[in-house]
């Protein structure tokens, strides 16, 4: 978004041609608290996955494997609804930030 394309390069009719391209926007920058999952206690029930507004729980073969910190906004819904309470919200530190992200939150 730092460089605006010329009008000749824009799709006619304002059509967006790259499905899911907002992925390049790092909404994780909004976060003040970060969910930390205790994987030893996690039962892989997937309730956090289904109730996450930002699709930030990465799953593989029906198992929870990681949290996508580039997009997690730190709302804390997961920590509230986890049936075994294995997700804890802790204050986020700047150390986790991706340095390649510009002021618009885009890589």
């Amino acid at each position: 978004m730092s460089e605006q394309p010329l009008w000749q390069k824009i799709q006619p009719g304002g059509i967006a041609i790259n499905p899911g391209s907002t992925e390049r926007v790092r909404t994780g920058d909004w976060r003040t608290e970060v969910p930390v999952v205790d994987f030893d206690r996690c039962t892989h029930c997937m309730i956090c996955w289904v109730d996450c507004p930002d699709a930030s729980f990465e799953v593989a073969n029906a198992k929870l494997v990681a949290v996508d910190l580039n997009h997690c906004k730190g709302c804390g819904i997961c920590a509230q609804i986890c049936p075994v309470k294995c997700i804890e919200m802790v204050p986020d530190s700047a150390a986790d930030r991706d340095e390649s992200v510009n002021e618009n939150g885009v890589t």
Partner: protein
């Protein structure tokens, strides 16, 4: 087909990441659940609203399915055209027949107020599509103005609170009942905290022979004034207090859905949202009594309809 989260998690997410909806927004939760529940590939029409402006920032899109947006009011008309065009192309042999589901996502402003006439027309014409109303009880995208879905007594920027007026003075429109009166095959009311109930209803709507309508309560943490992590709890309290009963109308037959339990007093739900803080600070407030009386009345009417349907 049964709904198992582990099986559903194997499917690719059709609604991506990086959208601009607020932290703790229930709309993206419901959209992800609805798209995951669909068995056919969907074609989506969007009405203007929170969901549309924050997921389709040009030149980007959060969607991984075909999405069309034209204006605020005409999402039902747009999807009617898409469905009719598909049928015409198949009839003329210019396109292969394939299983497709046509879906509309609209807010309560686009459904209850601005797009009401368009939606009513599309339902009457009998196009086969699923209309999802993501009901956050107000025009939250433009800065929390009242809509005809806003609850009585709620604070919004256009229904300020003070000595003269206690928030919104009118009772909200019962849109689900109005849609049920169109006599379409499937009408339901769902809420974002109950994924199983919502996904089951989406599956039933997809199987319905004709238009279907699902009114989904999606609590708005900015507009309703609660902490972002309380979204699911607030949704649950709204359902349990009877302010948002979960039910479905299949071919004119009314049925309650979700877990059966004793109904909570409405004050429990009102206390969870600071948009009602001016009336909940005094437990004897007459607005609370008015809301409770009206909810009791509507609940009894709904139970009577369900009872009548069960005896048929």
């Amino acid at each position: 087909m049964t709904l198992k989260l582990r099986e559903l998690s194997l499917k690719p997410d059709l609604f991506g990441t990086g959208h601009g909806l607020c932290a703790g927004c229930a709309e993206s939760v419901s959209v992800r659940q609805i798209l995951a529940a669909l068995e056919n590939p969907p074609i989506v029409a969007l009405a203007t609203g929170c969901l549309e402006v924050s997921t389709t920032r040009f030149p980007d899109t959060t969607w991984k399915v075909p999405v069309i947006h034209s204006a605020f009011e005409n999402s039902a008309t747009t999807i009617s055209g898409v469905e009719a065009a598909y049928k015409a192309l198949v009839r003329k042999g210019r396109m292969e027949e394939r299983p497709l589901t046509f879906v509309v996502f609209a807010g309560d402003g686009a459904t209850y107020d601005i797009g009401f006439q368009w939606l009513s027309g599309a339902l009457e014409r009998g196009h086969k599509f699923i209309y999802i109303c993501l009901n956050n009880e107000g025009y939250m995208n433009t800065g929390i103005q009242r809509s005809s879905a806003t609850l009585l007594g709620a604070w919004t920027t256009t229904t300020p609170t003070g000595d003269v007026r206690p928030g919104k003075p009118e009772w909200h429109k019962d849109m689900t009942k109005i849609i049920a009166a169109h006599g379409i095959p499937y009408v339901a009311q769902a809420a974002s905290h109950n994924w199983k109930d919502l996904m089951t209803k989406v599956r039933k709507a997809e199987q319905a022979d004709g238009p279907s309508f699902i009114n989904v309560l999606t609590p708005c943490d900015r507009g309703w004034r609660f902490e972002p992590d309380q979204t699911m709890e607030v949704s649950k309290l709204m359902v349990e207090s009877g302010l948002w009963p979960l039910y479905e109308v299949v071919e004119g037959s009314w049925k309650m859905t979700g877990a059966r339990q004793k109904r909570r007093p409405v004050i429990d739900a009102l206390l969870s949202q600071r948009r009602f803080s001016h009336i909940t600070k005094n437990a004897d407030d007459k607005v609370i009594a008015t809301i409770q009386a009206k909810v009791d009345e509507e609940w009894d009417a709904l139970q009577a309809l369900c009872k009548m349907s069960a005896n048929q």
